[in-house]
C-alpha cells in the first residue's frame, strides 16, 4: 500500500498550511487579509473587472431589447411622481426656513454632518449560496477605504459595510447578509432597534429588525433609517421599508421583516463613506 505522505504531497500540504497561517496571522495582527490574498486579488481583479464589463454590456443590450415598453410606462409614472416631488420640495423649503428661524430663536446651531466619500463600482458578487457579499474596485492602494466603512448608494440608501480591504479591491457585506447589523430607528417607535440579517430572509432578499420596544406601533411601509448610534453608520440613512411584523420561531419576540430600499440585483455603483463626523 502506498504511503499517504510522500515527499511531494507533504510539500504541497505544507505550502497550503503556510498560506493559510500567513492569512490568519495577518488578519489577527493587522485586520487585513494578508499578502497572499492581496496578491491573488490583484491578479484576479482584471479578470473580474473584464467579466463585470462584459456582463454589464450584455445586460444593457438585453434590457434595451426587452424592457422598452416597460421603460416607457415607468417614464410616465416617474414624470407624475416628479411633479409631486417638486411640490413637496417647495413645501420643504418653506418649512426649512421656518425651522432655521425657530432654531435661531432657541439659540441652537444646526447639526452639521460632513461625509467623505470614495466612489466605487461593483466588479463581482460572491459565488457563495451562504452569504451576500460583493467586491468593489477600490482598495488600500487607490483609496482611503478601511474595514467597517459604510457603503451607500448615490441617493443615500444603505448597501452594506466594508469587510476586508486588499490592495486593489475590497469585499463588502450587503445589508441582507447574516453578518450585517446596524442600529436603526422606526417611524412611530421610540428607542432604537437592531437591523440584522437572517439566512431564511436573505434568500428572499430581505432582512429583519428586532428588539422593537412597541411592535403595535409598527406598520407595513414604515421607513427604517439608521440611528447613528454605535458609530458604525451616520444617522438618517435609509435602510428600507417594513414589509410585515411577525413573531420569531420560538414565539417570544416580534420582529419586523424589511425590504431593502436599494435593489441589490441592479446595483453597479456605490459610495463608501470613509469619514463622517457630526458636530452640534
Amino acid at each position: 500500500m502506498k504511503k499517504i505522505f510522500s515527499r511531494k504531497t507533504l510539500v504541497v500540504v505544507l505550502i497550503a498550511l503556510v498560506v493559510a497561517l500567513a492569512a490568519v496571522i495577518s488578519m489577527v495582527g493587522t485586520g487585513r487579509p494578508g499578502f497572499v490574498t492581496s496578491a491573488v486579488e490583484t491578479v484576479l481583479k482584471p479578470v473580474k473587472s473584464a467579466a463585470a464589463a462584459v456582463a454589464g454590456t450584455c445586460e444593457k443590450l438585453y434590457g434595451y431589447m426587452h424592457d422598452y415598453d416597460r421603460l416607457i410606462e415607468e417614464n410616465a409614472a416617474l414624470r407624475a411622481r416628479l411633479s409631486g416631488a417638486d411640490r413637496e420640495a417647495r413645501d420643504y423649503d418653506a418649512l426649512e426656513e421656518e425651522n432655521v428661524r425657530l432654531r435661531e430663536l432657541l439659540g441652537l446651531s444646526r447639526n452639521n454632518e460632513s461625509y467623505e466619500f470614495e466612489s466605487a463600482s461593483i466588479i463581482a458578487w460572491s459565488a457563495s449560496s451562504w452569504d451576500s457579499t460583493f467586491t468593489i474596485n477600490r482598495g488600500s492602494a487607490n483609496s482611503d477605504i478601511a474595514a467597517g466603512d459604510p457603503v451607500i448608494t448615490s441617493s443615500g440608501c444603505v448597501v452594506g459595510l466594508v469587510r476586508t480591504v486588499s490592495s486593489g479591491s475590497s469585499v463588502c457585506v450587503s445589508l441582507i447578509d447574516t453578518t450585517f447589523a446596524a442600529s436603526v430607528d422606526l417611524d412611530n417607535v421610540t428607542g432604537s432597534c437592531s437591523a440584522v440579517g437572517d439566512y431564511s430572509l436573505m434568500r428572499r432578499g430581505k432582512l429583519m429588525v428586532e428588539y422593537i420596544s412597541d411592535s403595535n406601533r409598527v406598520f407595513a411601509g414604515d421607513s427604517v433609517i439608521t440611528s447613528g448610534k454605535g458609530g458604525l453608520f451616520p444617522a438618517d440613512l435609509l435602510l428600507g421599508y417594513v414589509d410585515e411584523v411577525t413573531t420569531t420561531s420560538d414565539g417570544q419576540n416580534d420582529v419586523a421583516v424589511v425590504t431593502p430600499a436599494v435593489s441589490l440585483d441592479d446595483l453597479l455603483y456605490v459610495y463608501v463613506i470613509t469619514d463622517f463626523s457630526m458636530t452640534e
Partner: protein, 175 residues
C-alpha cells in the same frame, strides 16, 4: 526527455485551463444570473482530478482550486486553500489504494468533497442567524446541483486523467 517535458507542460496547461474556465464560471458567470443556489464547481473538479490522478496531482490541483474558491467566495485565501488541498490528498490516496476508477467511486468522491465544503460554509451561518430548515434545504439543493455538474464535468476530467495516466502510469489498472 524533451518529449516528456513537453508532455508535462501540456498537461499542466490543460489543468490550468480547466481551473481558469471553472473559476470564471463559478465566480463571474453564475453569480450574475442571480440564482439562489450555485454549484461548487471547483470543489467537484478537485475531487474528480484527485480520484483520477492520485494524491500528489490531486493535492496540487486542490491547492490551486482552493485558492480560486476562496477568491470566488470573497474570503481570505485560507479555508478552502487548506480544505481542498487536504481533500485532494485524501481522495487521491483512497483512489490509489482502495477506490475503483469507475463512475460510482467518482460520484462518491465528488459528493464527499461537496458535502464537506457545504458544511464548512453553512456552520458559521447556522451559529449566527440561521434557521436549520432553510440551511438544510439549501445544502441539499446545492449538493444536488453540484452533482449534476460533476456528471457534466466527467468527460473533461476523464480526458485529463487518461492523459496523465498515459504519461506517468502511477495508478494501477482497476476496473
Amino acid at each position: 526527455m524533451l518529449k516528456k517535458n513537453r508532455a508535462a507542460l501540456l498537461l499542466i496547461l490543460k489543468h490550468a485551463l480547466l481551473l481558469l474556465i471553472l473559476y470564471v464560471l463559478q465566480a463571474l458567470v453564475f453569480p450574475w444570473f442571480g440564482t439562489a443556489v450555485q454549484p461548487m464547481l471547483l470543489c467537484v473538479a478537485a475531487a474528480g482530478v484527485a480520484h483520477g490522478e492520485g494524491s500528489f496531482p490531486g493535492s496540487l490541483f486542490g491547492l490551486f482550486a482552493g485558492v480560486l474558491t476562496d477568491s470566488a467566495l470573497g474570503r481570505p485565501i485560507m479555508t478552502f486553500t487548506l480544505l481542498l488541498t487536504v481533500l485532494g490528498l485524501l481522495i487521491g490516496y483512497l483512489s490509489e489504494n482502495w477506490l475503483s476508477a469507475n463512475l460510482p467511486a467518482y460520484a462518491a468522491s465528488c459528493a464527499l468533497s461537496c458535502l464537506i465544503c457545504i458544511v464548512v460554509q453553512a456552520l458559521p451561518v447556522l451559529l449566527r442567524h440561521g434557521s436549520p430548515a432553510a440551511l438544510c434545504l439549501t445544502a441539499l439543493i446545492q449538493l444536488a446541483v453540484s452533482m449534476i455538474f460533476s456528471l457534466l464535468l466527467l468527460p473533461v476530467v476523464r480526458c485529463l486523467t487518461r492523459a496523465y495516466r498515459r504519461e506517468w502510469r502511477t495508478l494501477p489498472h482497476r476496473s
